[in-house]
C-alpha cells in the first residue's frame, strides 16, 4: 500500500513538508517503548505511537523508519516537526486511537 492511501484511510493529517507519499508501506508497528521499536520495527513499516518528543525522530532515523503516526490527535512541538523534516521522516497525526489505526491498516493489508 502506498503511504498516500494509508493517510486517507486513517483520516491522517500530514505534519511534515510535502514529502514522497508514494513510498510503499508493508505494515505497521505499534509501541511507545523506544527500545522495543528499535529492537522489533522493520524498514517499510509505519510506526504508530503516542510518544511525540524529539527522541522519537532519532529512533526512526537510526532504524530507517520513514513514517510515524501520532494517534489520538496528538501533535508534536514544532521543533520535533522541524527535526523530522531535516531527517526526511514523514509525520502524520490522526484523531483515531492506536487500536483503530492499526486495525484499519491491518484490514487493508490482508
Amino acid at each position: 500500500m502506498k503511504l498516500k492511501e494509508y493517510l486517507e484511510i486513517i483520516e491522517g493529517k500530514l505534519l511534515t513538508k510535502e514529502n514522497d507519499l508514494d513510498i510503499e508501506i508493508s505494515g505497521g508497528y505499534v509501541s511507545d517503548l523506544l527500545s522495543d521499536v528499535m529492537g522489533s520495527a522493520r524498514e517499510g513499516q509505519v510506526w504508530i505511537t503516542i510518544m511525540r518528543h524529539l527522541n522519537v525522530i532519532a529512533v526512526a532515523s537510526l532504524t530507517n523508519i520513514s513514517a510515524i503516526t501520532f494517534s489520538k490527535g496528538y501533535l508534536p512541538e514544532s521543533t520535533v516537526i522541524a527535526k523530522a523534516d531535516q531527517e526526511e521522516i514523514i509525520l502524520i497525526s490522526s484523531k483515531l486511537n492506536t487500536f483503530e489505526i492499526a486495525g484499519i491498516l491491518y484490514k487493508h493489508l490482508s
Binding site: D32, L33, L34, S35, D36, M38, G39, E43, M51, H53, L54, N55, V56, A58, V59, S61, L62, T63, N64
Partner: protein, 163 residues
C-alpha cells in the same frame, strides 16, 4: 569491579587480536554527552552512522550499529552523569567506546536480562527504561565489552564488523 565480555560466534579471535594490538583507527570521531540531555542524545550515534554510510557500509549492518550506539548513548545520559563517546573506524570494523562518569553498574549480568531496569519516572516518560537497552546492544553487535566499577565509571565498548 565487574567485567563482561560477549563475542558473537566466529568473531572472538579477530576481536582479541584488536585488543592485543590496539591499532590506530583510520577515522576517529569524538563526542561528549551531558546528564539527562535528551535533546542532544542521539547526535553522536547519528554522526557515526552518517560517516559509515559515506564509506559505503551495508545498510543492514549500519542499522545494527546505529541501534547499539543509540542505546548506549541513551544509557550514558539516562543512567550515568553523562560521558564521552568515541567512534573508531577501521577498514573492516567500527569500535565505539562509551566512557561514562558513573555511578557504575552493580550487577552487569542482571542488567543484561530483558525487562530489568533501574530507570526512574523521568526516563520512563521519555519512552526509555523498558529494560531492553543492553539486550538490544548485545543483539546487534559482534563484540560487547563492559567494564564497570560500583560507584565509579563504566566503559562500554562495541565492535561491529562490516562483513
Amino acid at each position: 569491579m565487574a567485567e563482561y565480555w560477549f563475542y558473537r560466534e566466529g568473531y572472538e579471535e579477530q576481536a582479541r587480536e584488536h585488543f592485543k594490538t590496539l591499532p590506530d583507527p583510520a577515522i576517529k570521531l569524538e563526542f561528549s554527552i551531558g546528564e539527562r540531555d535528551f535533546v542532544n542524545a542521539g547526535n553522536a550515534s547519528s554522526q557515526i552512522k552518517m560517516a559509515l554510510k559515506r564509506l559505503g557500509v551495508d545498510s543492514a549492518i549500519l542499522r545494527r550499529i546505529a541501534i547499539a550506539a543509540y542505546e548506549a548513548e541513551i544509557n550514558e545520559t539516562a543512567h550515568a552523569r553523562g560521558g564521552d563517546i568515541t567512534g573508531n573506524i577501521y577498514p573492516e570494523y567500527v569500535l565505539i567506546r562509551f566512557y561514562d562518569k558513573g555511578p557504575g553498574i552493580d550487577d552487569i549480568e542482571q542488567s543484561m536480562i530483558p525487562g530489568f531496569s533501574t530507570a526512574d519516572d523521568q526516563v520512563r516518560e521519555m519512552g526509555f527504561g523498558a529494560g531492553l537497552g543492553l539486550p538490544n546492544i548485545k543483539k546487534n553487535v559482534d563484540v560487547l565489552h563492559i567494564d564497570s566499577v560500583t560507584g565509579g565509571r563504566t566503559l562500554v565498548e562495541i565492535i561491529v564488523y562490516f562483513s
